[in-house]
């Protein structure tokens, strides 16, 4: 407590007055003759002691009133500090249990050494310490454990396929430290192999974690690391019963790797390539895997790629690649034209494509735009409009439903678009871009389309188009377009204007080509670029797709051809740890919340659909950390808090100042009322 006007406290010396008066005052008795003294004496003994007590009480009361008045004028302020807590040792043991810790150099694995090190650390701590065991690759912390509980928890720790999440550990450490009692002394032990994948997370830490003691123990093997891993695999296309696969193998060790890359499809296993990699090198191997008749039998095909023989870490020698086979059905293309021969070139390109593709063909129908009706859209998969004309105004709603149901519309801008039809299509969110003004100037497109993920266009065809040097071909003019907020520009003119816009609507696509069909396709008839361009616009349907996920990503199993709304149909799914669970179908896919490790996630029953779950890329890069660099990173990530408890209390503003004048004033009023009451009682 302190005082703003402390000089007023001198007024408290006035308390001497009543004290002196009390000490010096002599009572004056009036002598009265009386007879019955014996009756007086009996009450006198009790009365004397009570009277002395009351005298003392009233003296104290009056002194208190004087002191309170002085203190009230001095304006007291109370400083509240949190009560000092009993010092408690709190340990945070960050134990790396990521997959790289499963590495073994012939004796113990890394995780065993880490557990042994952590147990030694826990044993050296005091008996009344509190432990928080934090597995870095697992989300669950074990908090507030005693010494014995902590040792049991550490001993039961298992390797997780996930990466060590250092950022999460540090931020959680900061939060926990903030919530800790003010008397706590926190110590952090970090036991990890500090792989590059772990260390690269640390420089991104925004705020250093405060702790009183920091200790870290890198777990590294004294021997050269012997580890290679399949880090990536992609399937390209199915040709003649064989599927093309690109497999990337990395040598994460310090010894040269000579291994065999094998592929296992169902029961049949085949050697794809002989891998020979020097230390710290990676290479992509292209191989063909014979899938035999599988492509006709099932939509999803599991391919297990392996390196043999094994090395120090076998878990990363296998890669699980699930391949979805392309659909085999022919596509129904409806060509809506304004004049009789307007779509001749498009039809020719489609005819050529049909002949080129043995797996599927295009069925073409042609209709005049003025005759286009909703019934025409019923059996169509793709609608190509040579222009935006007035009849499309009444079809806007039907076109929207067509696209939402999975159809694809391709608009060409031939001539000036009909205003009402354009506005209606724009209002229905069917048009990916709104043409505003035509500029009749020569213009050239970029050499190649922008690389886009997804299946809006055929990316292989896009790469092929780059070879035709379309950028040398002038276009007659272009429309200045305002793209829809949800649309993407797939290809641009050289002056940054959009050439092709695409917008996803429901399960379908809407594409706007910023030229006429004649200018886009007609100019290309002298080469096969028209076919590639047409293929580009129609999208891929011969490519295989992959269902491979890194552990930690959401795993979804696509179920094509099953039309069910969310929650109406459920599938039994077996996860990597052989657990069975029911998963509801949502938007033609099954979202599995927890894959249960690495391996296969598959549906039970038909259709049989697979998804491969693999280690995160780079997780098993076993490059040993450099001690000096590691020490520098640790000093940057952790800051030492030298003053236990008090510092954190000050940082968070626990110290408060409260003015006490009200308390003093009320107390004074109370005493002033009490004093006459006691004094009167004394006289009675």
């Amino acid at each position: 407590m302190s005082f703003v006007q402390w000089t007023f406290l001198l007024g408290g010396l006035a308390v001497v007055g009543p004290l002196i008066a009390h000490l010096l005052a002599k009572p004056r008795f009036r002598r009265v003759p009386f007879t019955m003294l014996r009756f007086l004496r009996s009450g006198q003994i009790e009365s004397q002691s009570r009277r002395k007590l009351r005298d003392l009480l009233i003296l104290l009361l009056r002194c208190a009133i004087i002191v309170l008045i002085a203190m009230l004028f001095a304006q007291p302020i109370l400083h509240i500090r949190p009560k000092p807590q009993r010092t408690r040792n709190v340990y945070y043991v960050g134990l790396d249990n990521s997959m790289s810790m499963a590495y073994s150099d012939g004796s113990d694995s890394y995780i065993d050494r880490a557990i042994e090190s952590a147990i030694g650390y826990i044993q050296a701590a005091g008996t009344d310490s509190v432990f928080n065991i934090c597995p870095l690759a697992s989300p669950d912390w074990l908090q507030g454990l005693s010494k014995e509980q902590a040792m049991v928890a550490v001993k039961g720790l298992k390797v997780s396929p996930a990466s060590a999440k250092m950022g999460d550990f540090l931020s959680a450490l900061g939060r926990t430290k903030r919530d800790a009692l003010s008397g706590d002394v926190t110590s952090v032990l970090l036991v990890s192999d500090f792989t590059p994948n772990t260390l690269k997370q640390l420089p991104n830490v925004q705020e250093p974690a405060e702790t009183h003691n920091i200790d870290y123990k890198p777990i590294v093997s004294p021997e050269p690391i012997n580890n290679a891993a399949i880090i990536e695999a992609h399937a390209s296309e199915v040709v003649g019963g064989r599927i093309g696969i690109d497999v990337t193998v990395a040598n994460y060790g310090q010894t040269e790797q000579t291994r065999l890359l094998t592929a296992k499809v169902k029961a049949s296993e085949s050697v794809l390539a002989e891998v020979s990699l020097p230390p710290n090198q990676r290479r992509t191997y292209q191989a063909q895997v014979d899938i035999g008749g599988s492509e006709r039998e099932q939509l999803s095909l599991p391919i297990e790629l392996s390196l043999s023989p094994g090395d120090g870490l076998r878990q990363d020698d296998t890669f699980y690649l699930a391949v979805s086979m392309p659909e085999r059905k022919s596509l129904d293309v409806l060509l809506a034209r304004n004049t009789a021969n307007e779509m001749f070139l498009v039809a020719t390109a489609l005819y050529t494509l049909s002949r080129m593709k043995p797996d599927g063909a295009f069925k073409m129908r042609q209709v005049l735009l003025s005759d286009l009706a909703s019934a025409d859209l019923g059996s169509a998969d793709i609608l190509i409009c040579s222009a935006i004309t007035a009849p499309l105004e009444r079809m806007a709603s039907a076109l929207r439903n067509f696209v939402r149901a999975g159809g694809r519309i391709i608009f060409f801008l031939t001539g000036e678009p009909a205003y009402n039809a354009t506005a209606q299509l724009w209002q229905q969110d069917v048009l990916p871009a709104l043409p505003r003004k035509y500029t009749p100037e020569k213009i050239y497109v970029e050499p190649k389309p922008l690389q886009q993920q997804g299946s809006a266009v055929d990316n292989l065809a896009a790469e092929a188009l780059a070879n035709y040097r379309i950028d040398n071909m002038p276009f007659k003019g272009w429309w200045q377009c305002e793209p829809h907020a949800q649309s993407r520009c797939l290809w641009k003119f050289k002056d940054d204007q959009g050439f092709i816009y695409c917008k996803s609507i429901g399960d379908g696509k809407s594409i706007l080509v910023n030229t006429s069909a004649d200018n886009s396709l007609g100019s290309l008839t002298k080469s096969s670029a028209s076919v590639a361009f047409c293929q580009y616009l129609l999208g891929a349907n011969s490519q295989v797709s992959e269902n491979s996920f890194a552990y930690g990503e959401p795993v979804s199993l696509p179920v094509p051809g099953v039309e069910a709304t969310s929650g109406q149909q459920q599938f039994w799914v077996e996860t990597c740890d052989a657990q069975k669970c029911r998963v509801a179908l949502s938007k033609s896919s099954l979202l599995v919340p927890d894959p249960g490790g690495i391996g296969w996630v598959k549906t039970l029953g038909k259709p049989a659909i697979y998804a491969g779950v693999n280690l995160p890329q780079g997780e098993t890069d076993m490059t040993k950390p450099v001690s000096k660099e590691l020490a520098e990173i640790m000093s940057r990530v952790f800051s030492r808090d030298t003053e236990p408890g008090v510092a954190s209390a000050d940082v968070f503003g626990d110290k408060k100042q409260t003015s006490l004048w009200k308390v003093f004033a009320w107390t004074l009023i109370f005493l002033l009322l009490l004093e006459p009451a006691i004094a009167n009682r004394l006289k009675r």
């Binding site: 009572p27 009036r30 009265v32 003759p33 003294l37 009450g43 009790e46 009365s47």
Partner: protein, 315 residues
């Protein structure tokens, strides 16, 4: 009636210098206040007639007068006894106590007024009472004796029934002054042993002696078949302790002093005095002794009524 009661007021009586006048005023005033007097009719000598009032005993109706006049009249008689009455008057120093004139404060209790010089002393009040009783008894023809005592018997006037005997009694009362300490028990034993003839013993005292001894003395009197009336004379201050401020009390007999704050002990004092009075009254009642507490601030009629009631029972 109101005028009659004024003569019973001790403050009024204290202004009268002549004790004879005091006795006459007290008794006449007393009888003037009684209407109708319940104390006629217990003798055999005819006195007069009065008109019958509902409630009168029918045995005193004069039927002859009724037969002649067809009106109901009661015959009244004058008492004619030879009872002996002994008045024992305490003249110790404690009887010289005179409290302050009292006043009634708004809370309903009585407090002593300042200054304290106008109170009636207990001895004066006791003398008035003794004089009035003597006058009354001698006028009825009773033999009356007076004994003044403190530690021992100070003065004793033997019993006589002559009307002139009153002068001797009144002279003794007028000349008495309080002195000495109370030794009531001893005096009662001495009196009991010295008295041959049984009669009515009227003890006027403040009883400030050892209670046990007093009870033994009274028991001695009862053993000798005396009818005993105790007029316990107390000052209002003694009963209520109505003093204010810091006071040093000095005992009138032992001269012991006590400094105290009366306010703080008033409740406990009253409680103990009440216990004392209650104990005396109970003990007297058990022994068949009439007990009458007299507050010196109150008129004398209470005492006279008590005496006459007792005398009636004797007859």
């Amino acid at each position: 009636m109101r005028q009659g009661r004024e003569y019973l007021d001790p403050a009024f009586l204290s202004k009268l210098a002549n004790m004879d006048l005091v006795a006459r005023c007290a008794v006449e005033g007393f009888f003037a206040g009684l209407h109708p007097s319940p104390f006629h009719g217990f003798s055999v000598e005819y006195s007069d007639h009065r008109q019958y009032h509902p409630g009168d005993e029918l045995k005193f109706v004069d039927w002859k007068v009724f037969g002649r006049s067809d009106r109901l009249y009661i015959k009244r008689f004058r008492q004619e006894t030879n009872a002996t009455v002994y008045i024992l008057l305490d003249t110790s120093n404690s009887m010289s106590f005179a409290g302050n004139p009292v006043r009634k404060v708004p809370d309903g209790t009585f407090r002593a007024a300042q200054p304290c010089s106008h109170g009636v002393r207990k001895i004066d009040y006791a003398c008035f009472l003794a004089a009035a009783l003597s006058y009354l008894m001698l006028s009825q023809g009773d033999s009356t004796s007076l004994m003044l005592f403190a530690e021992t018997v100070v003065k004793q006037i033997p019993p006589k029934s002559k009307h002139t005997h009153l002068n001797a009694i009144l002279t003794a009362l007028q000349s008495t002054s309080p002195s000495g300490r109370t030794n009531l028990a001893n005096v009662l034993h001495v009196f009991a042993e010295a008295t041959k003839r049984r009669g009515m013993v009227i003890l006027i005292s403040d009883l400030l002696d050892d209670e046990g001894d007093i009870y033994k003395g009274l028991a001695h009197l009862k053993f000798l078949k005396h009818d005993v009336i105790i007029f316990h004379t107390m000052d209002h201050q003694e009963l209520n302790l109505g003093y204010e401020g810091l006071i040093e009390f000095e005992d009138l007999e032992s001269k012991a002093r006590l400094q105290t704050f009366p306010q703080s002990i008033r409740d406990s004092y009253r409680k103990r005095v009440a216990e004392f009075l209650d104990e005396v009254q109970k003990t007297a009642g058990k022994s068949g002794i009439d007990y009458c507490l007299l507050d010196t601030s109150q008129p004398l009629d209470k005492a006279l009524i008590a005496y006459l009631a007792r005398r009636k029972r004797m007859m």
